[in-house]
């Protein structure tokens, strides 16, 4: 099932949907209704998590980059 939201008002299977209402649809039915401009896909939580992990990885890579290394010496801050 695909979690979608109504893009404009429509009726389906006896239910009326207003813009923004959640709609659970099968794969093909989602493509049909999306093609007709009735629904839009809701970003899945898994996709959001993947995006957050990707952002953390980028930050870690940037810190590990030799060009971003801190100056030589003791840089332990408050532990000095």
């Amino acid at each position: 099932m695909i979690n979608a939201r109504a893009a404009r008002p429509f009726r389906l299977a006896g239910k009326t949907y207003a813009p923004g209402d959640p709609v659970a649809l099968g794969d093909q039915q989602f493509r049909d209704l999306e093609g007709a401009g009735l629904v839009t896909r809701v970003a899945r939580p898994a996709a959001r998590i993947a995006a957050q992990v990707s952002a953390r990885t980028k930050r870690a890579t940037k810190i590990a980059d030799p060009g971003n290394e801190p100056p030589a010496g003791n840089n332990n801050g408050a532990d000095q």
Partner: protein, 154 residues
């Protein structure tokens, strides 16, 4: 099995194409979006062959052959509901040259699947005592292998 009325019959539409022309292929597209407010499904849902005749002088009889065939068409009558998802999909199909998939579910649970083109969807406002209605014409198509219908018993 006995006679039945057509009450409860529904017609669903999908832009998807079945991977295989059988019940499994068509059912993989489910759920179909039901076209709402239909009051009548007319037309000829089934293959009809043209008759080819030959009259040899020597025998005087008419020899008969089966020529080309036509898989038929549907003429739907319905009340216009501009928010009905099925009617909206039918309008989308009208503007497309592509075949769409259809599913008729009968009262006894029997299902017929086929592919077709939506050829027309005019609106008929009628008079002051009329429901604003429309008609949809669907021409049923067959593929190059001669597949046109899949029937699934309940």
């Amino acid at each position: 099995m006995t006679a039945m009325t057509s009450a409860g019959t529904t017609l669903g539409i999908s832009a998807g194409s079945p991977a295989t022309f059988n019940e499994v292929g068509f059912e993989a597209l489910a759920p179909y979006t039901v076209i709402g407010e239909i009051t009548d499904i007319g037309g000829d849902i089934g293959r009809v062959y043209n008759l080819v005749t030959h009259n040899p002088l020597a025998t005087r009889h008419t020899a008969k052959f089966k020529g080309s065939y036509n898989s038929g068409s549907l003429n739907l009558t319905l009340a216009i509901d501009r928010a009905d998802a099925g009617q909206i999909l039918a309008k989308t199909a009208l503007m497309s040259d592509s075949d769409y998939s259809f599913k008729i579910a009968f009262q006894d649970g029997t299902v017929t699947y086929f592919r077709g083109k939506v050829m027309s969807f005019p609106v008929n406002p009628g008079n002051v005592d009329s429901i604003t209605s429309g008609t949809i014409t669907i021409e049923i198509t067959a593929d190059d292998d001669g597949n046109d219908f899949v029937e699934a018993a309940s």
